[in-house]
């Protein structure tokens, strides 16, 4: 059924359709509306049987999910930013124990300085913890990915985090197609765990494993993700068969997200295709098949980039975009194939590997090893700085004219940076960076919105 609702609500309702038995949540901006909606559904009896546990921290949230899942219950939690870090130890525990928990990460920057706005630094910081990571481009995509996530997680016995841009998606009200309970019930059978704490068949979970077996156990987590490279496309196709559309596809209109090789035509408003069936759900592509310059990105910014691509194409610029939905496992083959013909690749990312540069770019480099395309990294949108079409156009103009440096920071105010560096050089006790800069720019700016 078509609804005009907030992204958080869409996700909460989709999760509820999956019939979780234990929901455990600790509030953190910008995830709060998700867990509030679920609390309402449980308290009102619409989601039952379900235990809603108000935990005392994110670490407790993931721990409760671990206990619940190990007991054979379908479990769910959501967090962001600092909360994700706080549960980091438990994330590794969940993946190491092979527990198919599904979690929403409402992507938000990590402090210091404290910042509640969107970027990808939180989920990126946990990219190697063994969780599958899927990035949503729209609210439709987000809700669909959660429904896919449970199927994927339980098939593989591996946890899945669905990442959606905090505020930008969570707090945006837009149209979504919400599946029916009957459709989701048909899609998602009851949770049949690979292991379960059961007095009738006692098992020990969580033994210490020494050098004699640790590598093998750890490899199995990796093997599951390699398996996921095949499972994700298959689940994406099964999703289309079950729900009549690709994940993220806007019903009733053009402009889709999600793969599966639909019509393959990139018209002015055209369908976003995922290429052949084996890349469905792993990546999306838009007007990239013949593009000289391809932008690679994750999450909601892809939509803005697609609009920019349309404008530039109309002006004769050969540009396209490849969106990465599955960041872990990283779809090396799919990315390599999608970028094969490009002269230049611009990886636009909302996170920074401090001391190195781009994180996604690093992964893309690996995918393109041996290829001759120029790869540029553009760090953008950190801490919620909006990524605007005008800046994308300017950046792409530079790229196409081969003026773009290897690593750039979009819309960076270098004056501010320089002033602070001067302060640091001038005095040892120069004070905290953030406070100095805020004083510099004034706390209430009468500037553009």
């Amino acid at each position: 059924m078509q609804q005009q609702i907030e992204g958080s609500r869409a996700v909460a309702d989709a999760v509820a359709l999956c019939r979780p038995e234990v929901v455990c949540a600790y509030p953190i901006s910008p995830q709060t509306h998700i867990v509030e909606r679920l609390a309402r559904l449980v308290s009102g009896g619409e989601l039952a049987p379900c235990e809603y546990v108000n935990v005392e921290s994110e670490f407790a949230a993931m721990s409760v999910a671990i206990g619940a899942c190990a007991t054979g219950a379908r479990a769910y939690t959501a967090t962001a930013s600092q909360g994700l870090l706080y549960m980091s130890e438990a994330l590794y525990n969940a993946s190491g124990l092979g527990l198919p928990i599904v979690m929403t990460v409402a992507n938000r920057a990590i402090g210091a300085p404290i910042n509640i706005w969107n970027d990808h630094s939180d989920s990126m910081s946990q990219r190697d913890c063994g969780w599958i990571q899927l990035y949503a481009q729209s609210n439709q995509h987000a809700l669909d990915l959660h429904i896919q996530a449970y199927r994927l997680a339980e098939e593989l016995s591996a946890p899945v985090m669905v990442c959606m841009d905090g505020f930008i998606l969570t707090h945006a009200v837009e149209r979504v197609d919400m599946p029916s309970q009957a459709d989701v019930d048909a899609w998602l059978p009851p949770f049949a765990p690979r292991q379960r704490l059961d007095p009738d068949e006692p098992i020990t979970i969580g033994a210490m494993v020494g050098p004699e077996a640790f590598m093998e156990v750890k490899y199995l987590a990796h093997a599951k993700q390699l398996q996921a490279l095949e499972s994700i496309p298959r689940v994406a196709c099964e999703f289309r068969d079950a729900f009549g559309r690709d994940a993220g596809e806007a019903v009733g209109g053009a402009g889709t997200v999600g793969g599966g090789g639909s019509d393959g035509a990139g018209g002015a408003t055209g369908a976003t295709t995922g290429g052949a069936g084996e890349t469905a759900g792993l990546i999306t592509t838009y007007r990239s098949e013949d593009a000289e310059t391809i932008v690679v990105a994750l999450g909601s910014v892809i939509g803005t980039i697609e609009d920019t691509v349309d404008e530039l194409r109309a002006e004769g610029v050969s540009v396209g975009v490849v969106g990465i939905t599955s960041f872990r496992p990283f779809p090396l083959h799919a990315v390599r194939a999608a970028l094969a013909h490009a002269t230049r690749v611009v990886v636009l990312e909302k996170a920074l590997a401090v001391g190195l540069g781009g994180i996604v770019a690093d992964n893309v480099h690996t995918a393109l090893a041996g290829r001759s395309a120029h790869i540029h990294t553009v760090i953008a949108g950190l801490g919620g700085r909006p990524i605007v079409k005008a800046s994308l156009r300017a950046m792409l103009a530079d790229a196409v004219a081969d003026r773009l440096e290897q690593l750039t920071f979009m819309d960076m105010d270098w004056n501010i940076v320089e002033r602070e560096l001067q302060r640091m050089r001038a005095s040892r006790a120069s004070g905290p960076h953030a406070e100095n800069i805020l004083r510099d720019i004034g706390t209430v700016a009468a500037g553009p919105v």
């Binding site: 721990s63 409760v64 671990i66 206990g67 219950a73 438990a90 704490l197 007095p199």
Partner: protein, 337 residues
Amino acid sequence: MSPASTIRFYQTGSIAVGNRLLDPDQRSVQADEQRSNAITCGHRACQGCGEALGARYALDAAMRATGGRMIAANATGCLEVFSTPYPESSWRLPWIHSLFANAPAVSTGIAAALRAKGLDRDIRVVGQGGDGGTVDIGMACLSGMFERGDDVLYICYDNEAYMNTGVQRSGATPPAARTTTTPAVGPAPGASFTQGKSAPLIAMAHEIPYVATATVAELRDLEAKVATAMTMRGPRYLHVFVPCPLGWGSDPRETIHVARLAQQSGLFPVFEAHDGEVTGVTPIRRQVPVEDYLRTQARFAHLFKPQPHTETIARIQAQADRNIRRFGLLPDVQGGS
């Protein structure tokens, strides 16, 4: 029954008291050949380990009380490490070890899952951890579990330091005790004198249905308290005193004796509390000065070399005396100060 039979038994053994056999229903769970052996033999605990002893008694009592329908969650620590040397496991009940700090939260998750599945009347949950995993790093999760009223019995085995990692100080380490991070050097050797962190009192402050302390010197009492706890629902907390011969530098053969001295000196009060109020104490039968207890352990040896540190020992005695006053542990002393 003749008057001779109405003798008060102060210390019953597993199957006998003095020279007479106990009635079967008064025997320890350990006397039962059909006991669950929830933590069975072959684990790698040290000789004389108080925790292994306490865990065995506590868990078999819990299994009997629950008809074997139980799931256990365990924090990282000695108990977890010595019981699961890969590829072996001592556990004969469903058991999960997750992390160091989260045993109470994992227990909450298990209880929630059982409730969602309508199995909570049938299957019970026990959380376990050492003092470190309970009193320090696990305190937030423990408090959360208490506050929410989750249906979990949590048992803390208190050997008063981080033993598994090599005897470092914890929030439960008593004043003046030597650990590797509170070495016996300098003007105030050993752990500092602080007001301490009493997990049982903290549990009582949460006003949960049942809080009790127990000791391996009173194994029957430990069993009885576990059985009592399992008649109730909601959060219940059991704090068990378990000497660690290795970490304390005590004779492995004397573990129970050392524990008894701790109790009889007043340093470890044995009591029960319901809904935040003390409802029963085990009185001290024969009080001993704290010095008798301290001398049994190398971790306090520096208090007696080259001369006794009378001031420090007096301060420790004062703590014991305060416990005696506070809980009314001596017959002529009413509790409550």
